[in-house]
């Protein structure tokens, strides 16, 4: 359509969709030409007819979509052909990489979809998609507001990934899970280049395949594509073997191409080859096939962790995200996400954490909650195929949660327990596992997406229990053919040298069939056990991964470079950014001095000296931040010491920092945060692109009287002004300081800020003045 519209005089930058209002006969004629060439499905001219792209044209999505679908239907009059509502990308990137909220994308799609169905479209095609999250918003909107069949095609690069990094296996897993009717590939490349990608896709799914290639690549000067209709058709013939169900053309494919494809593929249809169904969990960028031991990291969980609980209460997402990044770096394959804590709105927190985690880790997530609303919030906000942890053998639980698992196409963990508690014997646990499997199958969840947790009991309390767990693992694997999940660390409560028990039990469990252990990947002993198991069970061929793991290990800890009494003092360690030394020296100092003395007479003066040197240009930014990092280590030691004594905290006061609504340049704000924390202030970081009301709410609810706002763009300064106005309007007394590249002291005063901070150092000066 676009190709033909350009031929008929459409200019670059003009909205082609508007032609259905201004020149419907032109569009109708183009449709007819394709129908005459043999098209059985034609796409209405609605690709970019969303409210976002139509903004400023004076036309609503409903108006344009209705006109376009009616035009296509007129062209089809008297023929059996079907009309597809064509839906392209919104044109703005979704959070967390962009600023368009998932829910906004959903609303934009819904408007098009409802109008399209009402105008008589026979199906909807999402095409040229590169972001799986955006596709998910569209597919959910289609499923929840229309009865139209849903087709999806995405656009891949020669490296088998989309621009946003989405891989073929993830696309298949997520879209199959969401219940689309057909899927495939369009645009970007010619038939020969797309073929290997299509082949991979055909091996991942049984769903009908769609291929719409470009007519080669456009000539930059003439805009003409370089493959002739006949060549295009002959390149398409190879696709017959994949059992292709829907075929067409994208950029550059005029009706002549369609005519040639029809002729070339006539009578060449083949059945889709059978595929082996595998267990796949994924993020858009990483598909993890469970065909060996895959480690689920357990650290995103507040149970028994004071620091994590505090982060949840304060909404300190960065701390939670850093736990995710650390585990990914330590080699976890999947991350468990548990944010349940009394007093915390679990569904809302789950939604926020899942959304944010996707921006920093590529690992698939396991949504860990017993609250159905939190489970749904997490699954809905996630752009991959997640695992739900967990259900159990209770019929009410199964009936409540399995439909959610099915709707979002997730995998599910069933705990081998029920209202009667955890059965003592392996046989009784197995019986529950069987019941869970039957219930899942009855809800339409495929067998390979059901995992069983045979449950770990504390061996010091119930010594016979460990053997029963191991036995149950083997029974579930051998008799049901299901993957098993198990949290292993509980085994060792109450015993000395817990790690020994933990990794010994882990090894035994893996030998009995456990393939999804939940553990702390930051503990080397646990990951070492997995590594060794993979060698011994002939999984890690030639011990390659094992050798690599231990080749990288540091030979020995570096020798301390000085002593407390001799060459080095805490000031030097801080100034040089020596984290290890800062910890060690602080521990030594605590033997002779109290915490506040160390902070006020040593750490802060040391930081001040570093700050002064930074101001004078004697050191530069990374050195300033390294120094802050070292003093952070010192502060951690001091905080621990205070916690042990039960003394009141050393916080010098609370400060909110936020990058304002619409802006995502937050590196400056993050530098300010690090530096302020190292002066002993408690910083509540609301993140970036923060709504006005969220800043006000946080200030009022957490009783904070100093707020720092940052903005980098001239276009986002108005939201800074709005945020300040809202803070003032709330009547909550607070001091506001602002910073960011385009700000000036004059402008800061004009929008009602109390202070302008040109850099992190000045933020500290302001904090000292306001909070002491």
């Amino acid at each position: 359509m676009g190709t033909m519209l350009q031929k008929s005089g459409l200019k670059l930058g003009e909205r082609p969709e508007l032609l259905c209002l201004t020149h419907p006969e032109t569009v109708e004629n183009i449709h007819r030409m394709y129908l005459d060439a043999g098209s059985e499905i034609i796409y209405a001219n609605t690709f970019g007819a969303n409210a976002h792209k139509l903004d400023g044209t004076g036309h609503s999505a409903e108006e344009v979509v209705s006109a376009a679908v009616r035009t296509a239907k007129r062209a089809c009059a008297g023929r059996a052909a079907r009309v597809a509502l064509d839906v392209g990308p919104i044109g703005e990137l979704l959070e967390p990489a962009g600023t368009l909220a998932f829910e906004e994308a959903y609303a934009l799609f819904r408007e098009m979809l409802v109008a399209g169905e009402r105008a008589g479209a026979d199906l909807v095609v999402f095409e040229t998609m590169t972001d799986l999250y955006e596709v998910k918003a569209g597919v959910l909107a289609a499923k929840e507001h229309t009865t139209l069949p849903v087709f999806v095609t995405m656009t891949f690069e020669p490296n088998h990934r989309t621009f946003t990094g989405c891989c073929v296996a993830s696309m298949a897993a997520v879209l199959e899970g969401l219940g689309v009717d057909a899927l495939g590939i369009n645009c970007s490349l010619g038939p020969d280049e797309i073929f290997p990608i299509a082949k991979q896709l055909s091996e991942c799914t049984n769903l009908p395949l769609i291929i719409k290639a470009n007519a080669g690549l456009p000539d930059p000067e003439t805009g003409l594509y370089d493959i002739s209709p006949a060549d295009f058709a002959s390149q398409m013939v190879q696709y017959a073997a994949l059992g292709l169900r829907y075929v067409g053309g994208c950029c550059g494919t005029t009706p002549d191409y369609i005519r040639e494809i029809r002729a070339a593929l006539e009578g060449k249809g083949a059945a889709a080859p059978a595929i082996v169904r595998k267990t796949v969990v994924c993020s858009p960028t990483q598909a993890v096939t469970v065909d060996g031991v895959r480690v689920i990291g357990e650290r995103i969980n507040p149970t028994g962790k004071k620091r994590f609980q505090q982060a949840l209460r304060e909404g300190d997402l960065d701390y939670i995200l850093s736990q995710g990044v650390q585990q990914a770096e330590a080699g976890a394959h999947i991350l468990d996400v548990n944010v349940g804590l009394p007093g915390v709105d679990e569904p809302e927190m789950m939604r926020r954490v899942v959304k944010s985690l996707q921006g920093v880790v590529d690992l698939p997530l396991q949504i860990d909650s017993s609250n159905p609303d939190a489970i749904e919030a997490g699954l809905r906000a996630y752009s991959g195929r997640a695992i739900v942890n967990s259900v159990n053998g209770e019929p009410e639980v199964l009936d409540r949660i399995l439909p959610i698992v099915k709707k979002y196409g997730a995998c599910v963990v069933g705990l081998a327990l029920d209202a009667g508690g955890i059965p003592e014997t392996a046989e009784a646990r197995f019986a529950i596992a069987e019941r869970i499997l039957q219930a899942a199958l009855a809800h339409g969840i495929p067998r390979e997406n059901v995992f069983i947790d045979c449950l770990t009991l504390t061996v010091s309390a119930q010594q016979a229990g460990a053997l029963e767990t191991l036995k149950a693992l083997r029974m579930v694997r051998d008799r049901l053919g299901l993957h098993t999940v198990l949290g292993v660390s509980n085994i060792s409560f109450g015993l000395p040298n817990r790690q020994l028990i933990n990794h010994s039990f882990l090894t035994l469990a893996m030998a009995h069939g456990l393939d999804l252990p939940i553990l702390n990947p930051n503990l080397d002993a646990m990951m070492d056990a997995v590594s060794a198991f993979n060698v011994l069970y002939n999984v890690d061929r030639d011990s390659e991964a094992y050798i690599a793991r231990f080749a990288e290990a540091p030979a020995a800890a570096p020798q301390p470079t000085g002593t407390g009494a001799g060459g080095m003092d805490i000031g030097y360690a801080v100034a040089k950014g020596l984290k290890e030394d800062a910890r060690r020296l602080t521990r030594e100092l605590l033997k002779e001095h109290d915490e506040l003395t160390i902070i006020n007479t040593m750490l802060i003066p040391a930081l001040d000296r570093v700050g002064d040197r930074f101001e004078k240009g004697e050191i530069f930014l990374p050195q300033l931040i390294n120094a802050a990092g070292a003093s952070c280590e010192a502060f951690d030691v001091i905080k621990d010491s205070i916690l042990q004594k039960g003394a009141p905290s050393v916080s010098k006061g609370k400060i909110i920092v936020a990058t304002v609504k619409g802006d995502i340049h937050d590196i400056g704000k993050n530098i300010v945060k690090v530096i302020l924390e190292n002066y002993g202030y408690q910083v509540i970081d609301l993140g970036r692109d923060v709504p006005v009301q969220a800043v006000v709410d946080a200030a009022v609810q957490q009783d904070v009287h100093l707020v720092g706002l940052s903005a980098l763009m001239t276009t986002t300064l108005p939201s800074m002004a709005e945020t300040i106005a809202a803070l003032r309007g709330s009547g909550h007394p607070c001091t506001v300081f602002v910073g960011g590249a385009v700000l000036t002291p004059e402008y800061a005063a004009e929008i009602g800020a109390d202070y302008y901070a040109k850099d992190a150092k000045q933020s500290v000066d302001i904090a000292k003045k306001v909070l002491g």
């Binding site: 200019k11 703005e92 990137l93 600023t99 930059p220 770096e329 530069f620 990374p622 590249a741």
Partner: protein, 225 residues
């Protein structure tokens, strides 16, 4: 095709990091080296450019499009040109997630990586200019001029990216507030002229940081002029 990202300019990175001479300590030097390597390894640069005739009927309209370039300064930049090139380039989303991850685990590294990425996208643009020149033998290029410079409002960004179809062709999108996403990206117009063009638009007075720039207050520049 020649690689379009060839180097990270160490001096440029040091300037971005507020380095004003003196010793670069060895530990920082090591961080610097690691960051430059990581950025070169992680970036997936993508770009496109297209030449347009300039129609001077009502404002500066690009031939065959509905797009006009607003502002006095771009008009002056393109004063001697009958054609101009629109250029759009991005380092890709991989760099974005790298920077986000680093900010969570090691802020100093994040700051250095950020500076390296800024330098890398400049390097990409420089290399693209060479390619543009090769396609237009005998022509000379003006400076690059981007939405948000001088009197060209940042709000032009959206129409610019529509005309260049950047979201579809190279995965470059514009947020509601005119921010390019992925962030380490550049859009710019470059004039094609028959004779060498003076360097004039990369000076401090055209920079959006003019009012607050720490370098300028110290009497130096960030090195981009």
């Amino acid at each position: 095709m020649e690689p379009v990202l060839t180097a990270v300019n160490r001096n440029e990175v040091l300037k971005y990091l507020h380095y004003r001479g003196g010793e670069v300590p060895p530990e920082t030097e090591a961080q610097l080296q690691e960051a430059m390597d990581t950025v070169l390894r992680t970036a997936r640069p993508r770009y496109r450019f297209q030449a347009f005739g300039i129609e001077r009927a009502d404002g500066l309209r690009l031939a065959g499009t509905s797009f006009t370039l607003p502002g006095e300064e771009v008009a002056s930049l393109l004063g001697e040109c009958t054609h101009c090139v629109l250029l759009a380039a991005t380092l890709g989303g991989e760099i974005e997630s790298l920077l986000r991850r680093a900010q969570l685990t090691d802020m100093a590294r994040a700051v250095i990586l950020d500076a390296c990425a800024s330098s890398a996208i400049e390097n990409v643009c420089d290399n693209i200019e060479t390619e543009i020149l090769a396609q237009h033998p005998g022509m000379h290029l003006t400076d690059r001029f981007s939405p948000g410079y001088g009197d060209m409002p940042i709000t032009v960004q959206r129409a610019f990216c529509e005309v260049m179809d950047t979201s579809r062709k190279i995965g470059l999108t514009v947020s509601a507030s005119g921010i390019l996403i992925p962030r380490k990206s550049v859009t710019a117009v470059i004039g094609l002229a028959g004779r060498p063009q003076p360097k004039r638009f990369r000076g401090c007075e055209y920079c959006s940081l003019f009012a607050t720039c720490a370098f300028r207050k110290d009497g130096t520049t960030c090195g981009k002029s």
